[in-house]
């Protein structure tokens, strides 16, 4: 090798070494002021009512804005930008004749928008009208339609007039800065998603928006006039790392301090715990219910005994132990244990192959020469199961279920679809002939009506409205669902929910599998990280109280 080439290589090596030493040490100085949160999603916008991506809501709803009545990690409502949560007992939530209601909120007087302008009930009334306008890009107006009008008798009092009973009428409403959005709204309501506020929001929360580098990150800085206390950590950086394996590598390498919306599996979480003892893996029970919808129009599945037999044939406890190390509890009903309406005393379908075979015999099935059952007409007992293609965990679950059902004489064929197809058409238009496996992400506000009422079965006639994909019809459940929809008293509503679950568990329109956990990570040296396990209440719900320990 020539001397000149050797000298060139030596220079390159020294430069690389220098860079390698300089940059990490320079960056280490910044980290105490900053928390880096990794996400496997990039927001589409930062106005929650227009955002499709959960990533947008995670940043704007919990850091840039403080809602009127948010949820905490115990799934309790607390007063955010209002003085108290309205209740029937205190009289600020009133039931009126004709099924109407009135709810009154008092806004905290010390809140401002981050540009210093007052944050008042007038912003709330304007936001309601803006969101209600059919030309605004509001994703859902379902709750807005239940409201007759909102008014502000004074700047810090909001009165909401409801035109029907709604059990969650005291959970607040979206409030946006009128003084910023109004001009864009007047010019063109349909263009609001492209407004400056959607990309560079000014909120009322503990963190101010600083920058959005598309494809890379969003930076927020502590709002120094935040009335509930200036955040201890000066800066939040939300990094978008779309691939969960790469995000996992970043966590292991301590290049992100926390994660939210990470698409991690339990195996990845256990791997993180093993490889990096500086990170905490949070496994938070959530309202995510993994289950198998059964098409009750099918000749076999319309028989309750067949459905119950299938539930007995699947060893869900073993599934949970083998695939999820026992961390994801088996579900026997459609609500998880943490939900106020959870009923622990519903009929349970424990693993019992003998019972499964007995039920199938009762239903008229007889063994065939190949070990697969035949029905009364001699038809072979075979079905297909669909789920999201490429989801490794679900595909493993399918394999286990296939083997377990084969043992009782049911031949299962796997027939998966990409998520876009499965959720776009297959479920919504009930195009699954037998079984489809997926998860519902629910909230404390979820009511059974849209999932289990017979008028919520999507058909061409009703323009595919409703989420009762199995097509379950039960008059008693319908009656309870309608009562629950309007029952304001929590204790009464809980009693109705428990009764509905008993009927549901007996009829079993769906095979419940397990409840999924919300999986987050955070650096052990960050104090006060308390994931909530609720969609809409992300890891940063209390990030103004986070602090780095030494």
């Amino acid at each position: 090798m020539s001397a000149r080439l050797r000298a060139l290589l030596a220079c390159a090596l020294i430069t690389a070494l220098g860079l390698g030493l300089y940059i990490p040490s320079a960056l280490a100085q910044q980290s105490r002021d900053t928390v880096v949160i990794g996400m496997a999603q990039e927001p589409d916008c930062l106005i929650g009512d227009f955002c499709q991506m959960a990533a947008g809501r995670a940043i704007e709803a919990n850091s840039v804005y403080l809602g009127m009545v948010p949820y905490n990690d115990k799934w309790q409502l607390f007063a955010g930008s209002v003085e108290k949560v309205p209740t029937l007992k205190d009289g600020d939530w009133q039931l009126l004749p004709g099924g109407k209601m009135k709810v009154t909120y008092k806004f905290k007087r010390n809140f401002t928008w981050q540009d210093g302008r007052p944050h008042t009930a007038l912003d709330a009334t304007w936001s309601y009208l803006m969101l209600r306008n059919p030309r605004s890009p509001t994703l859902s107006r379902t709750i807005l339609r239940k409201i007759d009008n909102m008014s502000a008798p004074d700047p810090y009092t909001l009165v909401v007039q409801w035109n029907e009973r709604y059990p969650f009428a005291n959970t607040g409403h979206s409030v946006y800065p009128r003084h910023i959005l109004e001009r864009d709204y007047q010019r063109d309501p349909s263009g609001l998603k492209a407004s400056r506020q959607a990309r560079f929001p000014i909120g009322n929360g503990p963190y101010k928006f600083v920058e959005w580098v598309p494809g890379s990150h969003i930076t927020l800085e502590a709002y120094d006039k935040y009335p509930e206390g200036v955040p201890k950590i000066k800066r939040q950086v939300w990094r978008f790392i779309l691939d969960s394996t790469v995000l996992q590598a970043n966590v292991i390498a301590n290049q992100v301090d926390a994660t939210e919306i990470n698409n991690f599996s339990i195996e990845q979480m256990l791997d993180i715990e093993k490889r990096n003892t500086q990170q905490t893996a949070h496994y938070t029970p959530a309202l995510i219910w993994e289950h198998i919808d059964l098409n009750l129009d099918n000749e076999w599945l319309k028989d309750k005994r067949v459905r119950q037999a299938m539930a007995h044939a699947i060893n869900r406890e073993e599934l949970s132990q083998k695939l999820f190390y026992g961390k994801q509890p088996v579900s026997h009903t459609w609500l998880p244990e943490r939900h106020e309406g959870f009923n622990a005393n519903v009929k349970k379908y424990n693993f019992d192959q003998a019972r499964a075979r007995a039920l199938l015999t009762e239903a008229g099935f007889t063994p065939g020469p190949d070990g697969i059952l035949r029905d009364r007409a001699g038809k072979r007992f075979e079905m297909s199961i669909m789920t999201t293609a490429g989801n490794a965990v679900r595909e493993q679950v399918q394999q286990i279920i296939k083997e377990q059902l084969r043992a009782v004489g049911l031949d299962l064929r796997i027939d998966n679809r990409p998520a876009g197809v499965l959720f776009g058409q297959t479920t919504r238009r009930r195009e699954f002939p037998y079984m489809v496996m997926y998860a519902w992400v629910m909230s404390p506000l979820t009511l059974p009506h849209s999932f289990w009422n017979s008028d919520q079965i999507p058909t061409a006639a009703n323009n595919w409205e409703g989420s009762n994909y199995p097509g379950w019809r039960n008059a008693e459940s319908d009656k309870l669902n309608n009562q629950i929809l309007e029952e304001i008293d929590t204790a009464k509503r809980v009693a109705l929910l428990k009764k509905q679950q008993e009927i549901w568990a007996e009829d079993l329109p769906v095979i419940p599998l397990y409840f999924r956990l919300q999986l987050n990570t955070s650096n052990k040296r960050i104090q006060n990280v308390k994931p909530a396990g609720l969609a809409g209440t992300y890891i940063n719900w209390n990030s103004q109280t986070w602090a780095w320990t030494q």
Binding site: I23, Q52, R141, A194, G215, A249, I252, A253, Q425
Partner: protein, 321 residues
């Protein structure tokens, strides 16, 4: 030459229009309507909301009407709005294009310098251990999938040996000026190394072949016979002629590298056009996806043309009519 250029331009336009029809049709008929997906995630959504959203996003027209509207606006210079981000597509692409140029340009330079140097060295020492080593590494470089290589690099150089960042383009909060420039370079090392691998392997092999052919020519033997130092024989006589086909190859490879950047940018979360295309296709953001695909197709057409022109300029024996 002018007639040749004119003909090639017309061909290029036909290719672009044909490709736009094909890609638009494929995107539109890809299962998973974005509004249906939105509706599926919200059990309380009503049909009238769904209808309103379809109208808002222009999804209620037949696909050929949508294509015609899109083409008409593109011809007028308007690439439309991103359904996901609600911002003009041109603005989004502009932001990302710069990042992709950084990555691709660095990769091309690395690939060319290392690949060509290795090829030349290998040719001059044919059948030596170095030659065999370069050949084996070149085959390995061709065979290794970029996605896998990227994840392995992250594992080795960011996790086990924390020398480089595990993705991203810059460290948030770094001071502007030189620190930001150096930080950008630091982030560029791993993704450009991955993206350059295939190019290095290709150009090493081609340079070796081209060099071997040239050094056996009579004029090279004559140059040696005249008493020129070996360095002059190689650099002045052999190398220039050996590099003529390589120039063409470089021009033809750049569109391939641009397309290959999709995987690399995804693995390293490098916010470029490739990652944008990946996100747009997954999110059914038709305007963005079409704009990026058209851009990549345009680059392929342009660089093909440039390759032909450069070849004609470098080699006076080549004439186009």
């Amino acid at each position: 030459m002018q007639r040749f250029l004119a003909r090639r331009l017309v061909h290029g336009v036909i290719v672009l229009v044909g490709l736009s029809i094909l890609m638009f049709t494929l995107l539109v008929f890809t299962p998973g309507d974005p509004v249906e997906l939105l509706a599926a995630s919200n059990p309380d959504i009503r049909p009238e909301d769904v209808a309103m959203l379809r109208k808002y996003y222009g999804l209620d027209d037949p696909f050929y009407v949508r294509y015609f509207k899109w083409m008409r606006s593109v011809v007028r210079g308007d690439l439309g709005y991103s359904r996901t981000y609600g911002t003009p597509v041109a603005k989004i692409i502009g932001e990302r294009l710069r990042n992709t140029i950084w990555l691709v340009a660095t990769s091309v330079v690395i690939a060319f310098v290392i690949g060509a140097t290795a090829g030349i060295y290998s040719a001059l020492r044919q059948y030596s251990k170095t030659d065999y080593a370069v050949t084996v590494l070149a085959f390995a470089g061709h065979s290794v999938p970029a996605f896998w290589q990227g994840i392995v690099f992250i594992l080795i150089f960011a996790v086990w040996l924390p020398w480089f960042p595990a993705g991203g383009m810059l460290t948030p909060g770094v001071a502007p000026g030189w620190p930001a420039f150096l930080d950008r370079l630091w982030h560029l090392v791993l993704p450009s190394a991955v993206l350059a691998t295939f190019g290095m392997a290709t150009w090493a092999r081609y340079t070796r072949s081209s060099m071997l052919e040239v050094i056996r020519q009579d004029y090279v033997r004559t140059a040696r016979a005249k008493g020129n130092p070996e360095k002059v024989v190689i650099n002045k006589h052999a190398l220039r002629n050996a590099l003529i086909p390589i120039i063409t190859l470089v021009a033809l490879s750049i569109p391939a590298i641009l397309n290959g950047a999709v995987l690399t940018e995804t693995v390293f979360s490098w916010p470029g056009m490739g990652l944008l295309l990946f996100q747009a296709v997954l999110g059914h953001d038709y305007n963005v996806a079409m704009a990026v695909i058209l851009f990549l197709a345009l680059m392929t057409v342009v660089f093909n043309l440039l390759a032909d022109v450069a070849y004609a300029m470098a080699d006076p024996r080549i004439r186009y009519e």
